[in-house]
């Protein structure tokens, strides 16, 4: 009878069963639907095992405790992912057309709407900041911000951000079509000018300088992001660029899956606020998309050479999914319309916009805490 008490079976609760179903759903989406498998597969499996009672995996000295404590709590994992992203990102389209930076800023509208929405629903200011950042459509920045301000919400905000990033091709098109006419969607944009190597090397240096001085709280993310980009654009450390893009990125992705999955225990995850966070996150994505499109239309009132408003929605980040959506809808409206590279400008600007918003939130919320 003592032996029976020591098995996990005796300690299984209905909440555990619900988490098993969630784990099963993640694994199903990854394996059968190929939706974000690199994240959903390790997260799904981890959710399954951490919701086996009595294993102690997430307790102090448990295996997954270390992935969480050393990887996520220290911000190491989100920053290393940014190093890899920096090595993968080409800022050329943004440098060639710097006014798209404004679109990357406008598409942060969703962040602020979700922030005020969260306050209205009774979340505290640090919690509302973390929830708002979901609208930046940027996983590592969401994790970083939540970890700094409201670590108890980490699994909810991270999962919401990554799920909506995967759903960008579903969420954005109806909003984009609603706000634009077919003629606007078919606006042809002139090809971007080539960008020199010198400009591309100066960009990460100048961006680090400006962002670190303006918003010091965003320094860890911007520093790693721009270091990765400097590796890439300097073209003298190809080995490091490749390592950051491939091996390091892959290893850190596994650690991220284990760390985030380990926070999804029944006790921590199954609460009403999680549902609210999902709703607020969706709202953030929708308003971010609308903000980018509407601001592009506003810019067109003043610009002689019109921009296609469809590139505005790419400002929510979600690199490069949102830019692909712009390309698809543009060519649907006018086969001669190629927007992918034009949309990459606001797309990468959106990442920087989210970084700035996150840094500002962290500084302000910490001043209030």
């Amino acid at each position: 009878m003592n032996l029976w008490d020591k098995t996990g079976i005796s300690a299984v609760t209905p909440e555990h069963l619900v988490m098993w179903l969630i784990a099963g759903l993640f694994i199903y989406l990854a394996v059968r639907r190929n939706i974000e498998p690199l994240l959903l597969l390790p997260i799904g499996f981890t959710v399954l095992v951490v919701n086996m009672p009595l294993t102690g995996l997430t307790e102090v000295r448990g295996l997954l405790y270390y992935f969480y404590t050393y990887g996520l709590e220290t911000d190491l994992i989100p920053c290393l992912i940014f190093l890899g992203l920096g090595a993968m990102t080409d800022f050329g389209p943004l440098i060639a057309n710097p006014k798209t930076l404004l679109l990357g800023a406008a598409a942060q509208l969703g962040v602020y709407i979700a922030f005020f929405g969260s306050i209205a629903l009774g979340f505290t200011i640090p919690e509302a900041c973390s929830i708002g950042i979901i609208g930046g459509a940027d996983g590592p920045t969401t994790i970083f911000t939540t970890n700094e301000l409201a670590p108890h919400l980490l699994s909810a905000t991270a999962i919401a951000a990554y799920s909506y990033i995967a759903l960008v091709p579903v969420i954005q098109p109806p909003i984009m079509k609603l706000l634009t006419t077919k003629a606007e969607r078919g606006i042809i944009m002139k090809q971007l000018r080539p960008v020199s190597r010198v400009e591309k090397v100066i960009f990460p240096l100048a961006t680090s300088l400006v962002v670190c001085l303006l918003v010091p709280a965003a320094a860890p993310l911007v520093a790693t992001f721009m270091l990765g980009n400097l590796f890439r654009e300097s073209r003298v450390v190809e080995r490091l660029t490749n390592a950051a893009q491939n091996e390091l990125m892959n290893i850190v992705t596994i650690f991220l899956g284990l760390g985030v999955g380990s926070t999804m225990t029944a006790e921590k995850f199954l609460h009403w606020p999680v549902i609210k966070i999902y709703g607020l996150g969706l709202m953030a994505f929708a308003f971010g998309t609308a903000g980018g499109i509407l601001f592009a239309q506003l810019m067109n009132l003043f610009l002689k050479e019109k921009i296609n408003p469809l590139i505005g929605s790419a400002g929510v980040s979600a690199v490069p999914m949102a830019a692909r959506v712009s390309q698809r809808l543009g060519q649907e409206a006018n086969p001669k319309c190629y927007l992918l590279m034009h949309a990459m400008g606001p797309n990468v600007a959106g990442v920087i916009g989210t970084l700035l918003a996150a840094g500002t939130f962290i500084a302000l919320a910490k001043a209030l805490m």
Binding site: P320, K336, Y338, M341, M344
Partner: protein
């Protein structure tokens, strides 16, 4: 004679037509892969394919002349 230009940097993954084929305006001439997305490169005008200057799997820069329609 009208050139079909590469609309952006990428790789030609499929060529749908060959020299001598008739082509209509807005018909996809080839498929270009850029940022892991497949994009139709369409004929800017109707006519006949006079030249195809690229092979499948070839990497192209933006503005490369991919084909000529006459």
């Amino acid at each position: 004679m009208t050139n079909v230009y590469a609309p952006m940097i990428g790789k030609i993954v499929k060529i749908n037509l060959k020299t001598g084929d008739k082509v209509e305006e807005n018909q996809p001439v080839m498929i270009l892969e850029s940022m892991k997305m497949e994009i139709d490169v369409i004929a800017p005008v109707g006519g006949m394919i006079k030249e195809i200057n690229v092979k499948e799997q070839q990497a192209v820069e933006s503005d490369t002349v991919l084909a000529v329609i006459g």
